[in-house]
Protein backbone atom coordinates (compact mmCIF):
# COMPACT_ATOMS: atom_id res chain seq x y z
CA UNK A 1 0.00 0.00 0.00
CA UNK A 2 3.00 2.22 0.56
CA UNK A 3 3.57 2.28 -3.17
CA UNK A 4 -0.04 3.25 -3.87
CA UNK A 5 0.19 6.19 -1.53
CA UNK A 6 3.52 7.32 -2.93
CA UNK A 7 2.01 7.29 -6.37
CA UNK A 8 -0.98 9.25 -5.19
CA UNK A 9 1.34 11.84 -3.74
CA UNK A 10 3.16 11.99 -7.06
CA UNK A 11 -0.06 12.27 -8.99
CA UNK A 12 -1.32 14.99 -6.66
CA UNK A 13 1.66 17.17 -7.57
CA UNK A 14 0.69 17.29 -11.21
CA UNK A 15 -3.09 16.88 -11.26
CA UNK A 16 -5.77 18.73 -9.33
CA UNK A 17 -7.26 16.27 -6.79
CA UNK A 18 -10.70 16.55 -8.36
CA UNK A 19 -9.25 15.35 -11.66
CA UNK A 20 -7.73 12.26 -10.04
CA UNK A 21 -9.19 9.25 -11.72
CA UNK A 22 -8.41 5.57 -11.83
CA UNK A 23 -7.14 5.97 -15.41
CA UNK A 24 -4.40 8.45 -14.63
CA UNK A 25 -3.29 6.38 -11.63
CA UNK A 26 -3.01 3.29 -13.81
CA UNK A 27 -0.97 5.29 -16.34
CA UNK A 28 1.36 6.38 -13.55
CA UNK A 29 1.90 2.78 -12.52
CA UNK A 30 2.60 1.69 -16.08
CA UNK A 31 5.24 4.45 -16.44
CA UNK A 32 6.80 3.47 -13.12
CA UNK A 33 7.01 -0.18 -14.18
CA UNK A 34 8.55 0.72 -17.54
CA UNK A 35 11.17 2.88 -15.82
CA UNK A 36 12.09 -0.03 -13.53
CA UNK A 37 13.06 -2.30 -16.41
CA UNK A 38 16.18 -0.22 -17.10
CA UNK A 39 18.46 -1.93 -14.61
CA UNK A 40 17.91 -4.87 -12.32
CA UNK A 41 19.84 -5.28 -9.06
CA UNK A 42 18.95 -9.01 -9.23
CA UNK A 43 22.22 -9.31 -11.15
CA UNK A 44 24.06 -8.84 -7.84
CA UNK A 45 22.35 -11.97 -6.50
CA UNK A 46 23.00 -13.84 -9.73
CA UNK A 47 26.76 -13.24 -9.68
CA UNK A 48 27.04 -14.05 -5.98
CA UNK A 49 25.07 -17.24 -6.66
CA UNK A 50 27.34 -18.26 -9.51
CA UNK A 51 30.38 -17.85 -7.26
CA UNK A 52 28.68 -19.91 -4.53
CA UNK A 53 27.83 -22.64 -7.05
CA UNK A 54 31.47 -22.97 -8.12
CA UNK A 55 33.11 -22.51 -4.75
CA UNK A 56 34.35 -25.51 -2.74
CA UNK A 57 32.24 -25.32 0.39
CA UNK A 58 30.82 -27.31 3.28
CA UNK A 59 32.43 -29.99 5.48
CA UNK A 60 33.41 -31.96 2.34
CA UNK A 61 34.92 -28.91 0.61
CA UNK A 62 33.38 -29.56 -2.80
CA UNK A 63 31.49 -27.30 -5.20
CA UNK A 64 27.92 -27.79 -6.35
CA UNK A 65 29.06 -28.28 -9.93
CA UNK A 66 28.24 -32.02 -9.72
CA UNK A 67 24.68 -31.29 -8.55
CA UNK A 68 22.02 -32.84 -10.82
CA UNK A 69 19.15 -30.37 -11.23
CA UNK A 70 17.25 -32.81 -13.42
CA UNK A 71 19.10 -32.53 -16.72
CA UNK A 72 22.25 -34.35 -15.60
CA UNK A 73 25.06 -33.64 -13.16
CA UNK A 74 26.22 -30.04 -13.43
CA UNK A 75 23.75 -29.00 -16.16
CA UNK A 76 22.41 -25.57 -15.20
CA UNK A 77 21.28 -24.21 -18.56
CA UNK A 78 17.48 -24.59 -18.88
CA UNK A 79 17.18 -26.69 -15.70
CA UNK A 80 14.78 -24.37 -13.88
CA UNK A 81 12.28 -24.39 -16.76
CA UNK A 82 11.84 -28.15 -16.10
CA UNK A 83 11.32 -27.97 -12.34
CA UNK A 84 9.75 -29.15 -10.10
CA UNK A 85 10.27 -32.77 -11.07
CA UNK A 86 10.63 -36.24 -9.55
CA UNK A 87 14.15 -37.20 -8.46
CA UNK A 88 14.73 -40.94 -8.09
CA UNK A 89 17.63 -40.49 -5.64
CA UNK A 90 15.41 -38.53 -3.25
CA UNK A 91 12.26 -40.49 -4.25
CA UNK A 92 10.40 -37.20 -4.05
CA UNK A 93 9.24 -34.34 -6.24
CA UNK A 94 11.55 -31.37 -5.57
CA UNK A 95 11.54 -27.73 -6.58
CA UNK A 96 14.81 -25.87 -7.22
CA UNK A 97 15.29 -24.74 -3.63
CA UNK A 98 14.77 -28.20 -2.14
CA UNK A 99 17.02 -29.75 -4.81
CA UNK A 100 19.75 -27.29 -3.85
CA UNK A 101 19.33 -28.32 -0.22
CA UNK A 102 19.56 -31.97 -1.31
CA UNK A 103 22.86 -31.28 -3.10
CA UNK A 104 24.26 -29.24 -0.22
CA UNK A 105 23.58 -32.19 2.08
CA UNK A 106 24.64 -35.10 -0.15
CA UNK A 107 27.59 -33.44 -1.96
CA UNK A 108 28.89 -30.81 0.43
CA UNK A 109 28.07 -32.57 3.69
CA UNK A 110 25.93 -29.87 5.30
CA UNK A 111 23.20 -30.96 7.69
CA UNK A 112 19.71 -30.41 6.31
CA UNK A 113 19.02 -27.89 9.07
CA UNK A 114 22.15 -25.90 8.16
CA UNK A 115 21.34 -25.94 4.46
CA UNK A 116 17.80 -24.69 5.10
CA UNK A 117 18.41 -22.25 7.89
CA UNK A 118 18.32 -18.95 5.97
CA UNK A 119 16.02 -19.31 2.95
CA UNK A 120 14.92 -15.66 2.76
CA UNK A 121 17.46 -12.86 3.10
CA UNK A 122 17.06 -9.38 4.49
CA UNK A 123 19.09 -6.92 2.43
CA UNK A 124 22.78 -6.61 3.31
CA UNK A 125 22.14 -7.38 6.97
CA UNK A 126 21.36 -11.04 6.37
CA UNK A 127 22.23 -12.41 2.95
CA UNK A 128 20.77 -15.76 1.94
CA UNK A 129 22.97 -18.21 0.03
CA UNK A 130 19.92 -20.16 -1.14
CA UNK A 131 18.43 -17.00 -2.60
CA UNK A 132 21.65 -16.16 -4.46
CA UNK A 133 21.98 -19.71 -5.79
CA UNK A 134 18.33 -19.59 -6.89
CA UNK A 135 18.95 -16.28 -8.68
CA UNK A 136 21.90 -17.77 -10.56
CA UNK A 137 20.23 -21.04 -11.55
CA UNK A 138 16.99 -19.35 -12.65
CA UNK A 139 18.91 -16.75 -14.70
CA UNK A 140 20.38 -19.65 -16.68
CA UNK A 141 16.85 -20.54 -17.83
CA UNK A 142 16.02 -17.10 -19.20
CA UNK A 143 14.41 -17.63 -22.59
CA UNK A 144 13.92 -21.38 -22.09
CA UNK A 145 10.37 -22.64 -22.62
CA UNK A 146 8.64 -23.83 -19.45
CA UNK A 147 8.49 -27.60 -19.79
CA UNK A 148 7.64 -29.12 -16.41
CA UNK A 149 7.38 -32.90 -16.77
CA UNK A 150 4.41 -35.06 -15.74
CA UNK A 151 5.75 -38.52 -16.48
CA UNK A 152 6.11 -39.94 -13.00
CA UNK A 153 3.08 -40.81 -10.86
CA UNK A 154 4.46 -38.65 -8.04
CA UNK A 155 4.64 -35.66 -10.39
CA UNK A 156 0.98 -36.16 -11.32
CA UNK A 157 0.09 -36.56 -7.64
CA UNK A 158 1.94 -33.39 -6.63
CA UNK A 159 0.09 -31.49 -9.36
CA UNK A 160 -3.31 -32.66 -8.13
CA UNK A 161 -2.46 -31.98 -4.48
CA UNK A 162 -1.28 -28.51 -5.52
CA UNK A 163 -4.59 -27.94 -7.26
CA UNK A 164 -6.50 -28.93 -4.09
CA UNK A 165 -4.34 -26.59 -2.01
CA UNK A 166 -5.04 -23.76 -4.46
CA UNK A 167 -8.74 -24.00 -3.59
CA UNK A 168 -8.30 -24.71 0.14
CA UNK A 169 -10.17 -22.14 2.22
CA UNK A 170 -9.09 -21.67 5.79
CA UNK A 171 -8.02 -19.29 8.52
CA UNK A 172 -9.92 -16.44 10.09
CA UNK A 173 -10.77 -14.88 6.72
CA UNK A 174 -11.79 -17.97 4.67
CA UNK A 175 -9.14 -17.11 2.08
CA UNK A 176 -7.79 -19.54 -0.51
CA UNK A 177 -5.27 -18.83 -3.27
CA UNK A 178 -8.31 -18.87 -5.55
CA UNK A 179 -9.96 -15.98 -3.65
CA UNK A 180 -7.61 -13.52 -5.34
CA UNK A 181 -6.29 -15.50 -8.30
CA UNK A 182 -9.20 -17.11 -10.15
CA UNK A 183 -10.81 -14.21 -12.00
CA UNK A 184 -9.74 -12.03 -14.88
CA UNK A 185 -8.78 -8.36 -14.44
CA UNK A 186 -9.06 -8.10 -10.64
CA UNK A 187 -7.02 -5.90 -8.32
CA UNK A 188 -6.18 -5.59 -4.62
CA UNK A 189 -6.07 -1.84 -4.06
CA UNK A 190 -4.11 -0.84 -7.19
CA UNK A 191 -2.16 -4.09 -7.51
CA UNK A 192 -3.18 -6.20 -10.52
CA UNK A 193 -3.79 -9.86 -9.68
CA UNK A 194 -2.88 -12.62 -12.11
CA UNK A 195 -5.65 -15.11 -12.86
CA UNK A 196 -3.78 -18.34 -12.19
CA UNK A 197 -6.63 -20.46 -13.56
CA UNK A 198 -5.71 -19.60 -17.14
CA UNK A 199 -2.55 -20.63 -18.98
CA UNK A 200 -1.82 -16.97 -19.84
CA UNK A 201 -2.19 -15.86 -16.23
CA UNK A 202 -0.07 -18.68 -14.80
CA UNK A 203 2.57 -18.11 -17.47
CA UNK A 204 2.82 -14.37 -16.88
CA UNK A 205 3.04 -14.83 -13.11
CA UNK A 206 5.27 -17.89 -12.81
CA UNK A 207 7.85 -16.90 -15.41
CA UNK A 208 8.55 -13.58 -13.64
CA UNK A 209 9.73 -15.04 -10.31
CA UNK A 210 12.27 -14.75 -8.73
CA UNK A 211 12.13 -10.97 -8.74
CA UNK A 212 14.01 -8.11 -7.19
CA UNK A 213 11.43 -6.27 -5.08
CA UNK A 214 12.13 -2.55 -5.09
CA UNK A 215 9.89 -2.01 -2.05
CA UNK A 216 11.93 -4.53 -0.05
CA UNK A 217 15.42 -4.07 -1.51
CA UNK A 218 15.60 -7.83 -1.75
CA UNK A 219 15.49 -10.61 -4.32
CA UNK A 220 12.48 -12.81 -3.68
CA UNK A 221 12.11 -16.42 -4.81
CA UNK A 222 8.94 -18.30 -5.71
CA UNK A 223 9.00 -20.09 -2.33
CA UNK A 224 8.97 -16.64 -0.72
CA UNK A 225 6.02 -15.60 -2.91
CA UNK A 226 4.01 -18.55 -1.60
CA UNK A 227 5.16 -17.94 1.99
CA UNK A 228 4.02 -14.32 1.91
CA UNK A 229 0.72 -15.05 0.17
CA UNK A 230 -0.14 -17.46 2.99
CA UNK A 231 0.85 -14.83 5.57
CA UNK A 232 -1.64 -12.44 4.00
CA UNK A 233 -4.21 -15.25 3.86
CA UNK A 234 -3.92 -15.30 7.68
CA UNK A 235 -2.60 -18.87 7.60
CA UNK A 236 0.18 -20.04 9.92
CA UNK A 237 3.71 -20.03 8.51
CA UNK A 238 4.47 -22.10 5.40
CA UNK A 239 7.50 -24.29 6.11
CA UNK A 240 10.35 -23.79 3.62
CA UNK A 241 10.73 -26.80 1.34
CA UNK A 242 7.51 -28.39 2.61
CA UNK A 243 5.37 -30.69 0.48
CA UNK A 244 2.65 -28.03 0.24
CA UNK A 245 5.15 -25.49 -1.12
CA UNK A 246 6.42 -28.00 -3.68
CA UNK A 247 2.92 -29.20 -4.71
CA UNK A 248 1.65 -25.65 -5.24
CA UNK A 249 4.79 -24.81 -7.20
CA UNK A 250 4.24 -27.93 -9.31
CA UNK A 251 0.64 -26.89 -10.04
CA UNK A 252 1.57 -23.34 -11.06
CA UNK A 253 4.81 -24.17 -12.90
CA UNK A 254 3.10 -26.90 -14.91
CA UNK A 255 0.23 -24.54 -15.79
CA UNK A 256 2.87 -22.13 -17.13
CA UNK A 257 4.23 -24.71 -19.59
CA UNK A 258 4.91 -23.41 -23.08
CA UNK A 259 5.88 -19.87 -22.10
CA UNK A 260 9.47 -18.62 -22.20
CA UNK A 261 10.94 -18.19 -18.71
CA UNK A 262 11.84 -14.54 -18.06
CA UNK A 263 13.38 -14.04 -14.62
CA UNK A 264 14.91 -12.88 -12.33
CA UNK A 265 12.59 -9.98 -12.97
CA UNK A 266 12.11 -6.66 -11.20
CA UNK A 267 8.87 -5.70 -9.46
CA UNK A 268 7.81 -2.82 -7.31
Amino acid sequence: MKFGHALLALAALTIAPSALAQGSTADGIAKYRAALQDGNPAELWESRGEALWKQERGPKKVSLERCDLGLGAGVVKGAYAQLPRYFADADRVLDLETRLVWCMVTLQGYTEADAKKNPFGSGNARKSDLEALTAYITSESRGAKMNVPMRHAKEAEAYRIGEKLFFFRGGTHDFACATCHSEEGKRIRLQDLPNLMTAEGAQKAYTTWPAYRVSQGELRTFEWRLYDCFRQQRFPELVFGSDAAIALTMYLARNANGAPFDAPAIKR
Binding site: M1, L8, P17, L20, A21, T25, P149, M150, R151, H152, E155, A156, E157, Y159, R160, I161, E163, K164, L165, F167, F168, R169, G170, G171, T172, H173, D174, F175, A176, A178, T179, C180, E183, E184, K186, R187, I188, R189, L190, Q191, L193, M197, T198, A199, F230, R231, Q232, R234, F235, P236, E237, L238, V239, S242, D243, A244, A245, A247, R254, N255
Partner: protein
Protein backbone atom coordinates in the same frame (compact mmCIF):
# COMPACT_ATOMS: atom_id res chain seq x y z
CA UNK B 1 -16.31 -20.20 -18.08
CA UNK B 2 -13.63 -20.52 -20.76
CA UNK B 3 -10.90 -20.31 -18.14
CA UNK B 4 -12.34 -23.36 -16.40
CA UNK B 5 -12.55 -25.20 -19.71
CA UNK B 6 -8.90 -24.38 -20.31
CA UNK B 7 -7.92 -25.57 -16.84
CA UNK B 8 -9.89 -28.75 -17.51
CA UNK B 9 -7.77 -29.24 -20.60
CA UNK B 10 -4.61 -28.74 -18.59
CA UNK B 11 -5.74 -31.37 -16.11
CA UNK B 12 -6.59 -33.79 -18.91
CA UNK B 13 -3.15 -33.20 -20.45
CA UNK B 14 -1.60 -33.85 -17.09
CA UNK B 15 -3.36 -37.18 -16.79
CA UNK B 16 -2.56 -38.30 -20.35
CA UNK B 17 1.07 -37.31 -19.72
CA UNK B 18 1.14 -39.41 -16.61
CA UNK B 19 0.87 -42.36 -18.99
CA UNK B 20 0.55 -45.65 -17.17
CA UNK B 21 -0.15 -43.95 -13.84
CA UNK B 22 -3.71 -44.78 -12.83
CA UNK B 23 -6.19 -42.05 -12.09
CA UNK B 24 -6.31 -41.51 -8.35
CA UNK B 25 -9.74 -40.91 -6.87
CA UNK B 26 -10.51 -37.27 -6.09
CA UNK B 27 -11.42 -37.97 -2.48
CA UNK B 28 -8.08 -39.69 -2.01
CA UNK B 29 -6.27 -36.64 -3.39
CA UNK B 30 -8.25 -34.38 -1.05
CA UNK B 31 -7.28 -36.56 1.93
CA UNK B 32 -3.62 -36.50 0.88
CA UNK B 33 -3.76 -32.74 0.38
CA UNK B 34 -5.15 -32.32 3.91
CA UNK B 35 -2.31 -34.39 5.35
CA UNK B 36 0.28 -32.48 3.29
CA UNK B 37 -1.16 -29.20 4.52
CA UNK B 38 -0.94 -30.22 8.18
CA UNK B 39 2.71 -31.20 7.82
CA UNK B 40 3.66 -28.08 5.86
CA UNK B 41 2.81 -25.26 8.26
CA UNK B 42 4.07 -24.22 11.67
CA UNK B 43 2.45 -21.95 14.24
CA UNK B 44 3.69 -18.36 14.05
CA UNK B 45 2.72 -15.34 16.10
CA UNK B 46 -1.00 -15.35 16.65
CA UNK B 47 -1.64 -17.88 13.84
CA UNK B 48 -1.84 -21.41 15.20
CA UNK B 49 -2.36 -24.64 13.26
CA UNK B 50 -6.04 -24.54 14.25
CA UNK B 51 -6.46 -22.08 11.39
CA UNK B 52 -6.05 -25.01 9.00
CA UNK B 53 -9.03 -26.84 10.51
CA UNK B 54 -11.94 -26.15 8.21
CA UNK B 55 -15.52 -25.63 9.27
CA UNK B 56 -18.35 -27.03 7.11
CA UNK B 57 -18.62 -23.85 5.03
CA UNK B 58 -14.91 -23.74 4.27
CA UNK B 59 -14.93 -27.44 3.39
CA UNK B 60 -17.91 -27.19 1.04
CA UNK B 61 -16.58 -24.06 -0.66
CA UNK B 62 -13.11 -25.59 -1.13
CA UNK B 63 -14.72 -28.62 -2.77
CA UNK B 64 -16.58 -26.32 -5.18
CA UNK B 65 -13.11 -25.40 -6.51
CA UNK B 66 -13.82 -21.85 -7.57
CA UNK B 67 -17.21 -22.60 -9.12
CA UNK B 68 -20.62 -21.87 -7.62
CA UNK B 69 -21.60 -24.77 -5.32
CA UNK B 70 -24.64 -26.92 -6.26
CA UNK B 71 -27.95 -25.22 -5.37
CA UNK B 72 -28.84 -27.49 -2.45
CA UNK B 73 -25.34 -27.12 -0.98
CA UNK B 74 -25.52 -23.33 -1.38
CA UNK B 75 -28.89 -23.22 0.38
CA UNK B 76 -27.52 -25.24 3.30
CA UNK B 77 -24.46 -23.00 3.63
CA UNK B 78 -26.57 -19.84 3.62
CA UNK B 79 -29.06 -21.24 6.13
CA UNK B 80 -26.37 -22.36 8.56
CA UNK B 81 -24.54 -19.05 8.35
CA UNK B 82 -27.70 -16.96 8.65
CA UNK B 83 -28.31 -18.64 12.00
CA UNK B 84 -24.97 -17.34 13.33
CA UNK B 85 -25.72 -13.62 12.96
CA UNK B 86 -26.12 -11.91 16.32
CA UNK B 87 -27.72 -8.49 16.06
CA UNK B 88 -26.88 -5.89 18.74
CA UNK B 89 -28.94 -6.09 21.94
CA UNK B 90 -29.63 -2.34 21.76
CA UNK B 91 -31.01 -2.78 18.20
CA UNK B 92 -28.92 0.22 17.10
CA UNK B 93 -27.15 -0.73 13.87
CA UNK B 94 -25.61 2.57 12.77
CA UNK B 95 -22.37 3.62 14.44
CA UNK B 96 -19.96 6.39 13.47
CA UNK B 97 -19.05 6.57 9.76
CA UNK B 98 -15.79 8.43 10.48
CA UNK B 99 -14.49 5.52 12.56
CA UNK B 100 -15.93 3.22 9.88
CA UNK B 101 -13.77 4.88 7.21
CA UNK B 102 -10.64 4.20 9.33
CA UNK B 103 -11.65 0.55 9.76
CA UNK B 104 -12.25 0.28 6.00
CA UNK B 105 -8.72 1.61 5.32
CA UNK B 106 -6.95 -0.55 7.92
CA UNK B 107 -5.29 -3.64 6.40
CA UNK B 108 -3.63 -5.01 9.50
CA UNK B 109 -4.99 -7.69 11.78
CA UNK B 110 -4.80 -11.47 12.28
CA UNK B 111 -1.64 -12.01 10.18
CA UNK B 112 1.13 -13.86 12.00
CA UNK B 113 3.28 -10.78 11.45
CA UNK B 114 0.75 -8.46 13.12
CA UNK B 115 0.95 -7.36 16.75
CA UNK B 116 -1.88 -9.33 18.45
CA UNK B 117 -2.63 -6.20 20.47
CA UNK B 118 -2.51 -3.93 17.42
CA UNK B 119 -5.38 -2.71 15.26
CA UNK B 120 -7.61 -5.13 13.35
CA UNK B 121 -9.24 -3.62 10.30
CA UNK B 122 -11.67 -4.75 7.64
CA UNK B 123 -9.49 -3.61 4.71
CA UNK B 124 -12.67 -2.97 2.66
CA UNK B 125 -10.74 -0.85 0.14
CA UNK B 126 -8.57 -3.85 -0.77
CA UNK B 127 -11.58 -5.22 -2.67
CA UNK B 128 -14.23 -2.46 -2.93
CA UNK B 129 -14.58 1.10 -4.09
CA UNK B 130 -16.24 3.10 -1.31
CA UNK B 131 -15.68 6.87 -1.14
CA UNK B 132 -14.92 8.77 -4.34
CA UNK B 133 -11.83 10.36 -2.78
CA UNK B 134 -9.97 7.07 -2.28
CA UNK B 135 -8.77 5.98 -5.72
CA UNK B 136 -6.60 3.18 -4.37
CA UNK B 137 -9.31 0.53 -4.25
CA UNK B 138 -9.52 -3.08 -5.43
CA UNK B 139 -12.07 -4.78 -7.64
CA UNK B 140 -12.52 -8.29 -6.22
CA UNK B 141 -15.87 -7.16 -4.80
CA UNK B 142 -18.45 -4.80 -6.34
CA UNK B 143 -18.20 -1.01 -6.05
CA UNK B 144 -20.01 0.21 -2.94
CA UNK B 145 -19.88 3.88 -3.94
CA UNK B 146 -23.28 5.45 -3.17
CA UNK B 147 -24.36 2.19 -1.50
CA UNK B 148 -26.79 3.98 0.83
CA UNK B 149 -27.85 6.64 -1.66
CA UNK B 150 -29.08 3.90 -3.98
CA UNK B 151 -30.78 1.78 -1.31
CA UNK B 152 -31.90 4.23 1.34
CA UNK B 153 -31.18 3.50 4.98
CA UNK B 154 -34.44 2.02 6.24
CA UNK B 155 -34.60 -0.70 8.90
CA UNK B 156 -34.44 -3.59 6.39
CA UNK B 157 -31.41 -2.17 4.57
CA UNK B 158 -29.66 -1.58 7.91
CA UNK B 159 -30.37 -5.15 9.01
CA UNK B 160 -29.19 -6.64 5.73
CA UNK B 161 -26.01 -4.53 5.65
CA UNK B 162 -25.03 -5.30 9.25
CA UNK B 163 -25.75 -9.00 8.60
CA UNK B 164 -23.75 -9.07 5.37
CA UNK B 165 -20.66 -7.70 7.11
CA UNK B 166 -21.22 -10.02 10.09
CA UNK B 167 -21.49 -13.13 7.93
CA UNK B 168 -21.42 -12.77 4.14
CA UNK B 169 -22.03 -16.49 3.61
CA UNK B 170 -25.55 -16.06 4.95
CA UNK B 171 -26.51 -14.30 1.74
CA UNK B 172 -24.03 -15.54 -0.90
CA UNK B 173 -22.66 -19.04 -0.41
CA UNK B 174 -18.90 -19.22 -1.01
CA UNK B 175 -18.56 -15.46 -1.24
CA UNK B 176 -14.96 -14.20 -1.32
CA UNK B 177 -15.77 -11.86 1.56
CA UNK B 178 -14.62 -12.76 5.09
CA UNK B 179 -17.22 -13.39 7.81
CA UNK B 180 -16.13 -10.47 9.97
CA UNK B 181 -18.51 -11.00 12.89
CA UNK B 182 -18.86 -14.76 12.84
CA UNK B 183 -15.09 -15.33 12.79
CA UNK B 184 -14.42 -12.70 15.48
CA UNK B 185 -12.38 -10.49 13.18
CA UNK B 186 -14.31 -7.31 14.01
CA UNK B 187 -16.22 -6.28 17.12
CA UNK B 188 -19.93 -5.50 17.09
CA UNK B 189 -19.11 -1.78 17.38
CA UNK B 190 -16.74 -1.94 14.39
CA UNK B 191 -19.47 -3.57 12.30
CA UNK B 192 -21.89 -0.81 13.37
CA UNK B 193 -19.33 1.80 12.28
CA UNK B 194 -18.94 0.13 8.88
CA UNK B 195 -22.71 -0.08 8.49
CA UNK B 196 -22.78 3.69 9.11
CA UNK B 197 -20.02 4.25 6.56
CA UNK B 198 -22.23 2.55 3.97
CA UNK B 199 -25.60 4.01 5.01
CA UNK B 200 -25.18 7.38 6.74
CA UNK B 201 -26.29 10.14 4.34
CA UNK B 202 -23.31 12.23 5.59
CA UNK B 203 -20.77 9.47 4.78
CA UNK B 204 -18.40 10.15 1.85
CA UNK B 205 -19.67 6.88 0.36
CA UNK B 206 -23.03 8.55 -0.30
CA UNK B 207 -21.84 11.87 -1.74
Amino acid sequence: MSSYARLGLLVVTAIVDAGCATRVDDGEVAAKAAAVLKASFKPAGQAGLDRLEQDETQRACSAAAGKAPPKDVAAKIEQANLATIRYPADAKLLGDWKTGEKIAQEGRGKQFSDDPKGPVGANCYACHQLSKAEVSFGTIGPSLYQYGKLRGNGADVQRYTFGKIYNSEAFTACSNMPRFGHKDILSEQQIKDLTALLLDPASPVNQ
